[in-house]
Subunit: 122 residues, 2 copies
Amino acid sequence: MNILISNTSEKPIYQQIFEQISAQILKGELQGGYSLPPIRQAAVELQVSIITVKKAWEELERSGLIYTVTGKGCFITELSAEEMIQKRHETVLKQMESDIAYYRSFGLRLEEVIELLRTVYE
Amino acid sequence: MNILISNTSEKPIYQQIFEQISAQILKGELQGGYSLPPIRQAAVELQVSIITVKKAWEELERSGLIYTVTGKGCFITELSAEEMIQKRHETVLKQMESDIAYYRSFGLRLEEVIELLRTVYE
DNA sequence: ACATTGTGCATGCACGATATACACGCGGTG
DNA sequence: CACCGCGTGTATATCGTGCATGCACAATGT
């Protein structure tokens, strides 16, 4: 459970949890077959309600990254290295499309965007 | 008033209006000194409430892109070409920072991001 | 049975979106 | 010059939706 929750962020808490665990799974930091912490324990660690954790877990299950067994726990879906890369790119591309739409609405061309990226990406 | 509102978008309506007008001003499509449509007229055209338009106008004023005169109307702030470019980059960079944080959370390096960008940016 | 796990329901609160009534500014008219 | 009407932005009260929560219920395994 290496999660950082920002109370100042405009994103809902359950989505912050979802995104960070999602990233950790797709980076291979959380191995398939192992289980996630019980929602109660996670709730205590993260200082949030059980239900907030559950909503994050539900999103993860909807994305096919974990599966739930009532009474037992939640387990990480086993993925091959190729599948992880594939899902990671899918996820990033989906977000990137709307990001690009925003940049383009300001009339920026591809090379301008790349130039700005280089100045910010440390 | 060349605005497109998406009801399926997760973004609030007033923010969609704000972003699009903001972009049009900073691209020079809306010249300084000219006035924006009255909020009532804009509300009819955009099929939204007066107050929703007002909230968008307030955001524009807070960003220094327009100024309001009670009883007269709302007018676009006069900006030099350099100021427009500057503000445009400021705006885009602010958004780009959080975009990059997202990409990096998935472990992507700068060159991978650029490669993905090239495949999507048509 | 009991302890541990996930699930479902009812509540409080913040925010987006709305309609209606109010205040300010300008210009025509007596 | 005063007044009133029209067009402008402004403020108040209300409704619906979604985030976040606590508490009680169901399922699993020892």
